[in-house]
Amino acid sequence: MKSVWLLAAAVVVVVANVWVVFTARSNRADASGGTVELTERELGLPVLMGDSTAMLLELKWDAVSRGRHEQRAPEWLGAAKLSELGFDCHVPATSPDARSHYSSLPSRLVYLVLEYDGEAAKKASAVNSTRTRLYVVDAGEEARLLRKRYPDNQRFVITRGVVRVRLEERDLQDGTPLPEPRVGGWIGSVVPDQVFVPQPFSQLLQPLRTHDVEPKEKPASEPRFTALVRWGKRYEPWVQSVRLLPEAEQGSKAR
């Protein structure tokens, strides 16, 4: 057995862990990605599994879609915006090669702009009883340019997300065939889409967790907590603080 190989393996372990911690600390050097106080509507509590105390809040977001039945396919994510994001949209949608071309394009990791409690949320709540007030309103390849366009970092958050492209041959509103196909995009996910809650804040939220999975069509109820979430230099989030709202505070005192 060669001990020099094992020593090198130990060095790899230490260097990898130090690197992860170092990049996380450098991310938190400033909150250029944005700072927003989100509520339980935007941060889903994890289901209680066994006696795990690890607290990862799920980021709940949406986008005002083109069609009622289509999720996260905004009107502004058309061929022009997709080309700006780096997708190869040179093949006309009416070309016989269009279907195979657009289905072969891989998804891209881009910068997304999330608006909190703005026009997009008001427009969406008028259409359906969605709970979250965090909506994707724009995307781009350069975060710096997006921040110039949306300077209010208390209302607009810049984060990373995955965008995909497809050839649409049916109307997203009612499913009827389109007169001619068009190229459209949809937002697959926000990355990361979970935020870890450290001590001592996780202990505040622990009594609010249950074993029940939240149904998708759960009627809107009042949020029980808020969390101040910041996005840093690398557009990775962290929880700065957590506050129980009055109704939840009374409930936990009674217990």
Binding site: M1, L6, A9, A24, S52, A54, P106, R160, F196
Partner: protein, 326 residues
């Protein structure tokens, strides 16, 4: 011809028994059927016990994770992996049986993968393809330290995945979706297959086989995925022609791997090539005949081809045995 007296025979047998006992003690070799069965029982008990112990540690960490201060996370995760590494080194140094050293090494590898995953999740990091490189480096270093083929295979596959993920990221795609671009695996898989030609492993001769097996398997899997997804990766190849081209290339490559395996006397390579050949052949026949041939005739011909392949594999097995004896 040497004729021994009864006394000489008994002295020789006693000496050989002593040598056998010394070798058994030194190398933990089983010389009787009952000893072999007991050893298998010990290995099973160790595997189950180790898995249960690992599960207990993970569940305990889940239990206390939320109440630990932030500074504890990287300390606990790094220390845990280093302890397993140290245990592997200590066990190997003390001459513990290879099986137990392998288990410790595997536990250290799995521990490191969980370590980075948990730390990135706790610090809310965006997933990075460089984690694949760290895991590959760890697996390869431990494989060469302890001579473990499974870790070498895992490390080589992770390395190929890393090159494909990096290529995907450099072309603007999201690296996590690199399996959608099977062609990104082909260059690294080819390089893996070629490594033993460039530098043979004199001390660990089985490692050459692992390089070839991993390279060959990744090449065949990539061609199969390409043939089914039909991505026009090369713009000069029309989309519809890509499927048959990949399948025929897969057939040719499978035959090549079988021939190479026979030439080297490596049954593992022969089996890999044989499985690849059968799968590609059936997929191609399905594409050619399924839509127009009567179903009963299709399955009859498949059965006849399977019988022919059986005769071919029987002949290959005879050749391999002759090569092993010769």
């Amino acid at each position: 011809m040497l004729l021994l007296t009864a006394e000489q025979r008994s002295t020789l047998e006693a000496h050989l028994d002593r040598v056998l006992a010394d070798l058994t003690r030194q190398f933990a070799v089983d010389v009787s059927e009952s000893a072999k069965r007991i050893s298998w029982g010990m290995r099973l008990a160790t595997l189950l016990g180790g898995t249960a112990f690992g599960a207990a540690v993970v569940l305990f960490l889940h239990r206390i994770w939320g109440v630990l201060p932030a500074v504890a996370y990287p300390l606990i995760l790094t220390t845990g992996t280093l302890v397993l590494l140290a245990a592997t080194g200590f066990a190997a140094h003390r001459g513990v049986a290879r099986y137990y050293v392998s288990l410790l090494a595997l536990a250290a590898g799995v521990g490191f993968a969980l370590d980075l995953n948990a730390l990135e999740s706790t610090l809310n990091r965006i997933p990075s393809p460089h984690s694949l490189l760290a895991w590959a480096a760890m697996a390869l270093l431990m494989a060469y330290a302890c001579g473990i083929r499974l870790l070498l295979g895992a490390g080589l596959i992770l390395l190929c995945a890393y090159t494909a993920a990096l290529w995907m990221a450099c072309t603007g795609g999201y690296w996590v979706t690199f399996p959608e671009r099977a062609e990104y695996l082909i260059p690294s898989a080819t390089a893996l297959y070629a490594v033993p030609w460039l530098r043979a492993h004199r001390e660990q001769r089985d490692f050459d086989f692992v390089y070839r097996f991993c390279g060959g398997a990744l090449l065949l899997i990539s061609l199969m995925i390409l043939s089914k997804t039909g991505d026009p990766c090369c713009t000069f190849v029309p989309g519809k022609a890509l499927e048959p081209i990949c399948q025929i290339a897969g057939l040719g490559l499978s035959v090549g791997v079988v021939s190479h395996g026979l030439w080297l006397g490596r049954g593992g390579l022969v089996n890999l090539g044989a499985v690849g050949f059968v799968v590609f052949l059936f997929v191609r026949l399905h594409a050619w005949w399924w839509h127009w041939m009567p179903t009963y005739l299709f399955f009859f011909i498949l059965g006849a081809i399977a019988f022919l392949l059986l005769l071919v594999f029987k002949r290959m097995r005879t050749q391999l045995s002759e090569r092993a004896c010769g």
